[in-house]
Symmetry: none
Subunit: 246 residues, 3 copies
């Protein structure tokens, strides 16, 4: 198993003051210090790689750079996720935020439900619990009807009607591992993700059942046009490891 660099960020007060990149060979990783977060830009592409978030922190996350702007009236978001965090612990699974809004957040709630929020009140689903074993999880939403569903191991939940007519705003930031309470800031350890995420893909339309099942079984499907794991551009921060999917 080849491991990728663990990137350390140390937080003092409200500001991240230190950033370390080490063990960057054989990959070239370079770090940028900007006013809010120090980031390490990794090469493009995560085929056969897993993001491992080994500890509970308020500074470890991965920012994902979309292939196109995320002004969306429909989407499919898929990922494989595993965690050993206890059932009663809130967990951020995906966060897309613009300056003023949580545009598209996926959580595991304290009561075990999986939730989906766009700019305000969310909608909640009773799904099988996330476990130490990888769960294949997709989320589909379409503005016209509001029809929303999670897909677990290729099986669709019951539809819920959530925010028909809504649009997701562009020009925000996607984070894995942390929930920013303001744009690029306000992270909390007790909401952080601990565990593994891999094979995250996102499309700006609703995939059919057969496509979602094909993705679940690892068969060939149309590449995500927002995020494509195999061509993912991303920035690592804090204690996140990129390891071979073994």
């Amino acid at each position: 198993m080849t491991s990728w660099p663990v990137l350390g960020g140390k937080r003092t007060g409200n500001n991240l003051t230190t950033s370390k990149c080490f063990r960057c060979i054989p990959y070239v990783v370079y770090c940028l210090i900007n006013s809010i977060f120090p980031v390490c830009v990794a090469p493009v592409g995560l085929s056969d790689k897993v993001l491992v978030f080994p500890y509970e922190t308020d500074f470890s996350f991965v920012a994902l750079i979309p292939q196109k702007e995320m002004g969306l009236r429909a989407f499919t978001l898929c990922m494989r996720v595993a965690t050993e965090l206890p059932e009663e612990r809130q967990i951020i699974l995906f966060a897309y935020r613009t300056a003023d809004y949580d545009e598209l957040n996926v959580w595991r709630e304290q009561d075990g439900r999986i939730s989906f929020y766009m700019s305000g009140d969310g909608t909640f689903f009773h799904l099988p619990p996330l476990t130490t074993f990888r769960t294949s999880l997709c989320l589909t939403w379409e503005s016209r009807t509001g029809l929303t569903a999670f897909w677990v191991e290729g099986k669709r939940s019951t539809y819920q009607v959530y925010k028909p007519g809504h649009s997701i705003r562009p020009k925000g930031t996607v984070l894995l591992g942390q929930d920013p309470d303001k744009h690029l800031g306000g992270l909390e350890a007790v909401q952080s993700f601990v565990g593994e995420i891999t094979d995250l893909n996102m499309w700006d339309f609703v995939l059919s059942r057969s496509m979602i099942q094909a993705w679940h079984y690892g068969h060939k499907v149309p590449k995500g046009n927002i995020f494509d794991w195999g061509n993912m551009e991303y920035e690592l921060n804090g204690n996140v490891m990129v390891v071979d999917d073994d």
Copy 2:
């Protein structure tokens, strides 16, 4: 994903006063206002369609028009059903009522059991819980012996002996989504169905194990001679959506 019209009914006091059919193209749906319920008569046939009941209401239901009178001394009723309603919530799954009697009701009880009532006291089964994923559920009953069983994913429950010699009366009304406490009236939100129902079929005889398993797996079986999902005649009322089964 093609969705079918959401049909809105507005209730004032005890009377439904408004009914809206909209976005009915490319399907012709027309509405009838009668003294009790405003209904929208949809074209025949629900092949590859799912009925979605997105909210808890006391006015959303689907009336099913049988192909033959429901004076019955045996039957098989099958459907695929998904719900996220909490375990302790009573849910009506199927209601056939004549003027004075609940002729054939199927419930999920507050204690999680699935129950079957004909004109009075019911019989109760411990089955696996209904979930957000679709459960294939059949019910068989035969008057001569009273032998009654539910079939979950093609597997039969233990037989119970229930009302041997009984006959179900004809000339009533079948509703999905609500339990009418009187003929075409007396609906209660706290008993309403929220979730999805599809592929409902009914026969006036007891199907064999192999036929029920064939139906479960989506193989070809004799068409229901009381209800055949592919040729279903039905009336939508309130917030019920007919969506592609995807």
Copy 3:
């Protein structure tokens, strides 16, 4: 669905006073009144039949007549069993009693464990719960080593060592549905079996794992030399139905 006769027995005080056999066509069933139990002797053989015990009673049972005397120093007992009785309810699953001893009893205990008793203290196993769906259950015991195991759906429990050197006495009576506290008497409703039993077989030796798995999957195995479901000689009493396995 062809059903077999419902046989009614009415108990007054400590004596069964009435026995009715009805609807016995097309099978010839005849009734014997003896001083203790009125019994209806059915023709031999239960291939593709299920015994249904629909109600909790203290008078419904099936006596099984063994093909050879049950003086045993090893055995394999297999059956398929389904019940909806609540977890905390004691249930007799098999009772073989001689004049002074419970020679071979199998119970579900009030704590959910499955137990096995020979002439005194029993041994207890944590197995998956019995449900409304059929469980395939075998029990093996050998006097020489005392090695005892239950087999659920063809999978063996951990071995326990129970009464090595013991012998089961011959010339008793095997009952399904009731536990006789004395030879042919002393029945209690709260211990009775409610549910279904089918495909009961018994051998006077320990079957191999592959034989038990073959039996579980319904493949051909050596016929039971104590009980063979397809050639079973039995006596029905009370409300027990013999129905087609469908």
